[in-house]
Symmetry: C2
Subunit: 166 residues, 2 copies
């Protein structure tokens, strides 16, 4: 067996250009969840996270993610989604809905805005109506839904799996 030794400060993989993935969050119940999303975004090379309402980072959670990720805070998500759409982003909700596509087979386009719903309410119907597609992570048991920040990280991972350092 190989001899495994910690690599504590492996340099990150360099991206060929800025990640074309944007994360847009509905007003979250918990700024801890939002801060976890920002930490994960930083790790996956995402530089733009959109928060709504009382969004505020907890630095002990977001860590250095707060240094490289720009958190834009807006009053509500509807107009933001309209702008992103006009800018050419494919609007992809992360939700359990009719007509959703399983994350395992979901083919992202590079220029994607990933929409994260509120922990309790999910993505509200008036926002669902603006989406091009919905991706859903298959569930195999209770509690049948992942934490919002956890599912956002899984979706970012899947995007990076498809696009690597591009």
């Amino acid at each position: 067996m190989p001899h495994f030794e910690h690599v504590r400060h492996r340099p990150p993989q360099l991206l060929a250009g800025p990640r074309e993935l944007v994360i847009a969050c509905a007003p979250m119940k918990s700024n801890i969840n939002l801060s976890h999303i920002v930490r994960s975004a930083g790790c996956f090379g995402v530089t733009r996270v959109i928060g709504t309402g009382a969004a505020r980072l907890e630095e002990r959670i977001a860590r250095d993610g707060a240094d490289t990720v720009k958190l834009e805070v807006h009053r509500s998500l509807g107009p933001v989604l309209d702008t992103l759409r006009a800018e050419g982003y494919q609007l992809v909700g992360l939700e359990q809905t009719t007509h959703s596509e399983r994350m395992f087979e979901f083919q992202f386009v590079a220029k994607t805005a990933l929409i994260i719903g509120n922990e309790r309410l999910g993505i509200e119907p008036e926002l669902l109506a603006k989406l091009h597609r919905v991706a859903e992570i298959p569930m195999y048991g209770l509690p049948h839904s992942l934490n919002a920040a956890t599912s956002a990280a899984v979706a970012m991972y899947e995007y990076c799996r498809q696009f690597g350092a591009r």
Copy 2:
């Protein structure tokens, strides 16, 4: 565009048999992280999580995951890994090490024990020495390492992506 409507209680996908994936955690700094791991394990159909030391579930975090996931608490992880190995599990650490394999190309075997390290210390050297393989999630930016519970969820997702409802 399709009309997306919430599906709040989609029945989970039925597994053909019990998941052969076991999660084994070093003593964690935070029972919140451990509880998040149990919640994610429940969602992904994993029924066995091994905790160490002062492991205790916070039910508000673990949710119904605590109903279906058996949390076994042991004094230390070394003897547990020896037993899992003797039972035929492939011992896979989730860590940043020399000789690690990128998670994007990592081929799991069905009977896998996934080892999660402490938030600060990672998987300690005497445990690393017991592992068959190490999987590493590629990082593209600061803070260069995911939260322990987040990375555990990503690894469980990747396992499920490969094995589906098997």
